[in-house]
Symmetry: none
Subunit: 210 residues, 2 copies
């Protein structure tokens, strides 16, 4: 059962959210407040898996509430709710450790999916929010090093290694036999001049192959 704690100043929306979430399989609203003036005590008391946090609230606003939560509770997921895809708030919320950022006009069914995603470690955001985020990103740069003449297939395999996959999992993901995975990996080791998986992973990072 995923425990949800709600902060939302609008009474109708607060009630609506509570009913929606409480009426859904696997979710339960442990409490709902109209401001987050006592957010730390409340989170400590109710130990929610997820906090739905409205941004625009009187008194302590949502961003400040988020920061207060983060001071004490690193693992609690916080989903920001807002009416605007306003880039200043998006940026500030993300910087402060929000686990997702969604618009209030999101349809109820979708909202539940987002909550579930956040609960399982994802970072849901509505498409319009994502657009803001991508724009902010477009101004940065990155360079890459040599690639040691790895073939396309070898690069893919290395990628899997870096992501912590076992030979068996790689075989399954790539639709090839485990012995073929072995062959590729042997070749990769030769090209990188290493002789273990973790060395290959380390080299991949150091030389920015991945």
């Amino acid at each position: 059962m995923t425990k949800v704690l709600i902060y939302e100043d609008n009474p109708q929306l607060r009630e609506g959210l509570t009913m929606l979430i409480d009426g859904s399989e696997g979710f339960s609203v442990v409490a709902a407040f109209k401001n987050c003036n006592n957010v730390q005590d409340e989170v400590a008391a109710f130990k929610p898996d997820i906090v739905l946090m409205d941004i625009d609230m009187p008194g302590t606003n949502g961003i400040e509430g988020l920061k207060k939560i983060r001071e004490q509770f690193a693992d609690t997921k916080v989903l920001m709710l807002t009416v605007f895809d306003d880039n200043k708030n998006v940026f500030e919320a993300i910087r402060s450790g929000a686990n997702g950022y969604i618009l209030k006009k999101t349809p109820p069914a979708r909202l539940l999916e987002y909550i579930a995603e956040a609960a399982s470690g994802g970072a849901p955001m509505t498409a319009s929010i994502a657009t803001q985020v991508l724009k902010m990103f477009s101004s940065l740069h990155n360079e890459k090093g040599e690639d040691y003449n790895l073939s396309e297939r070898e690069k893919q395999v290395l990628q899997f290694l870096v992501n912590g996959y076992s030979y068996k999992m790689i075989a399954a993901e790539m639709f090839i036999a485990i012995d073929t995975v072995r062959s590729h990996i042997k070749k990769i080791y030769e090209k990188l001049h290493v002789n273990s998986k973790s060395e290959a992973v380390a080299k991949a990072f150091k030389d920015k192959i991945v």
Copy 2:
């Protein structure tokens, strides 16, 4: 009618995507190719509203394909498809003007929603991708890098792992028994939330522990 152009080297997936999209109200696949060596000519010829672009392809890869599209066609929406929520590729794709970034394992129904969102100007991304994006964001503005409460000894061991040492070699270097090395490593895995040497090494790099 939203016109979709597909680039995907895996024949099964290419066929599957084509059928899925062609079978959906309001969408039509104008063509599907197994590589993007001639992407500019093809986009010019078919004038798609949306391009689905696999990242891992032989020859011209998806990122290069994206860049080629962007050289000539600013308005064509490009949705990147990949098996990994790997941060280097996410970053590079976003930087090059991708309109969205989604995982191949996304369920078909969801995939269609994403395509629709991209077509109408949004920037869809799966929750796990969004997580990567958020992490990159917060790492840009605080260079710290958490240390996961590793003890001094554990940090030393991790350092050896990163440098490609086997348990036996670590034991020799640190003048302790191999079983003690095991104990330390188990503790490290717990603290880093991983369960293999290469994952630990990867995490050490990603989170700048070493």
